[in-house]
Amino acid sequence: MSTETGRESRRSGVLVDAMRWMENLSDTQYAYLLLIPVFVLLGVVALYPLLRTFELSLYATSLDLTGRSFVGIDNYVQLFTGGKNRFLPGGTTFIPSSLSLNALLNSALVVTIIFAVVSVAFETVIGLGQALILDQDFSGRKWVRAAIIIPWAVPIVIQGMVFFLMFNSNVGFATAPLADLGLLAPTNTLNDTASATFIIIVADIWKTSAFMALLILAGLQSIDRGLYDVAKVAGASKWQQFKLITFPLILPTIGVAVLFRSVQAMRVYGIIDTVSSCSVVPSLSCMVVATFNTREGTAAAIAFVTAAIIGVAVMGLIAWQGEDAI
């Protein structure tokens, strides 16, 4: 009625005009309008530096580190042909030099992929389990949730310290029992690629399962409980309810979680540096860090190749999960 319109006009005219203008945009225009803040922010803080870094990757640092020269994509070519391996820490190669176990574990690419696949797989399963538990109603749930979140709140340095000391040769108590099970090398554990990778994966699972759990829990909490009534009456057992209702409905959330965990996992660096070292577990990010101070061009090239590899992995993931993941 008239009262409504009267009230409207009391507000500042400019604001109303702006609002009206916004409301009248088509979906597409409106979408792009709302995306402006994101793109400004990402443009300034991400796109610009990335372009610069990309520029850097087209230059080679001279022998004495004083100057640089334009080499085009040579840095990239050398990375794949092995020409850059000599700058990588501790005999690491970028792509495996052969298919022997040793050569594979020496390859930054392979180690990164192994780490990502194994840790993300475990984290997803464990995170899902934790989320399912937290989704139940029980007294003290708040505290159990706190307990499960805690690892995520632990800084990587501390996470590294915790596991480093657990497997440290002076005081570590965890090496012996695990070595007895054949999971770890009994001596020089943290400098043994296989063992160190195992420990780092465990450490990563410990910390980031909470990430998965939190996200999946949020997905679980958004499900319409009424659907479970329908399913129950239709005769679904607990497992079938999970399989047919819960799982498909949290799949988008799991998809996001897996996507981002995979991306994060493929950039693993901190935990390696704190528990073991980049020459033992040579992840791609390690290679970037190892070369950044002296060989910026190479480092930049590795960074871009890493991003490209992650991009390929993500595409694979998306294709595997189905288009609607995006």
């Binding site: 009534d229 329908v230 129950k232 239709a234």
Partner: protein, 398 residues
């Protein structure tokens, strides 16, 4: 085998100290193969009762038997029921086919069998071409039909249907009703059905259960509820437009109301004496224009009224008649004593705001105890008359 028995079922919700009794000491005995309709005002506990039967809500007190099993604590899946939910609740991530076949797939039916049944169900609810649609792409009525189809493919022992036709148009409703009746016969199942549509309740059910504020008011065949309501609530609730109520006092040979009196011999009926406060109930179709007095089987004396508003409905006209000094008002409740609603033939020669005499069919006048609301008699002629229905229930003797 699929008898259903509710004993003393009570459900209370404790809403931050504020206790809501949704179902209050409900006792029901439903035979195998019966078609029962739950009716009652909004919020009276129909859905909650259904939920306790389905096992979705555990009653605060009482037990539930299906067949010979005590299912009170059994999970829904082991009760052999299918349910249509009031809120429809389609699975948003499944298309129509998957929604409908959900229960069958759970039970690992062979694909052809599933296909067959889904097709048949889609046919029944007239959704043939839409099996591939997602719920969000459908209209309200279409969604509701999917929900119905999802229940009927299951062919369970007991069907629970919570207002399954609320969003359908009249025509489709009639169609669906017929189909439900056919299914009922074919599958020989017990059906419990919530509806607020009187016609639906009347045509479909073997017995109607009338609920109010969580407690059962009457459970009886439709016409018994219509013709011999146990109490004021049922009388007022069943029938649309609803029964006219006029308060009166029993005298020696008549009942005296504010605006008219009606002959009655209290000695013909138990439990009522001279001086009692009673409420007279008269259905709109039992009031006739004075001109038709001869056609009425047991006519009352002529009553002076004035036509107020006329509502032509197509196949009949609702005429609001003012008694005495009654004021114009279309609302039924405000006018208990000063207004009578009459339903007459559309061809009748009647106009608004005219004086008119009416006559009441005494054989269909109901009498209720005003204080308790209990029915006293359903015919002023004598206590034995309860026309056209055979299984008349014993009158309550209060």
């Amino acid at each position: 085998m699929a008898k259903l028995k509710l004993e003393n079922v009570t459900k209370r919700y404790d809403d931050q100290g504020d206790v809501v009794t949704a179902v209050d000491d409900m006792n029901l005995d439903i035979d195998h193969g019966e078609f029962i309709c739950f009716v009652g005002p909004s919020g009276c506990g129909k859905s909650t009762t259904m939920e306790t039967i389905a096992g979705l809500t555990i009653p605060t007190e009482g037990t539930i038997h299906i067949g010979d099993r005590d299912v009170t604590n059994l999970p829904p899946k082991d009760r052999g029921i299918a349910m249509v939910f009031q809120n429809i609740a389609l699975f948003p991530h499944m298309d129509v086919y998957d929604n409908i076949s959900f229960g069958l797939r759970l039970r690992d039916y062979p694909t052809e069998e599933i296909d067959r049944r889904v097709e048949r169900a889609a046919d029944i609810v007239q959704l043939e071409g839409m099996l591939g649609r997602m719920p969000e792409e459908m209209s309200g009525g279409q969604r509701q039909r999917v929900a119905i189809a999802r229940a009927i493919v299951r062919e369970p022992d007991v069907f629970l249907m919570d207002e399954p036709l609320a969003n359908l148009d009249a025509k489709l409703k009639v169609h669906m009703r017929t189909e439900l009746q056919r299914l009922h016969k074919e599958l020989d199942t017990t059906i419990i059905y919530v509806t607020h549509d009187q016609e639906e309740a009347m045509t479909l059910s073997d017995r109607i259960a009338v609920l109010n504020s969580g407690s059962l008011q009457q459970i009886a065949p439709p016409l018994t509820c219509y013709n011999e309501p146990d109490n004021l609530f049922v009388a007022g609730f069943i029938g649309s437009p609803s029964m006219n109520f006029v308060e009166g006092t029993v005298e020696n040979d008549q009942i005296e109301t504010k605006n008219f009196s009606i002959a009655f011999d209290p000695s013909t009926v138990d439990g009522v004496g001279v001086g009692d406060s009673v409420t007279i109930g008269i259905r709109p179709e039992d009031i006739y224009p004075g001109a038709l007095r001869d056609e009425v089987s047991d006519p009352s004396s002529l009553i002076d009224t004035r036509t107020d508003i006329l509502e032509p409905m197509g196949d009949e006209i609702f005429a609001y008649m003012l008694l005495g000094q009654g004021e114009t008002s279309m609302s039924q409740e405000q006018a208990t004593n000063d207004q009578l609603l009459m339903s007459i033939d559309p061809d009748s020669d009647i106009a608004e705001d005219e004086d008119m005499q009416v006559v009441i069919d005494r054989s269909n006048v109901h009498l209720f105890d005003t204080a308790t609301g209990e029915a006293i008699t359903h015919s002023l002629e004598a206590a034995w008359n309860s026309e056209s229905v055979t299984e008349g229930e014993a009158e309550s003797d209060d």
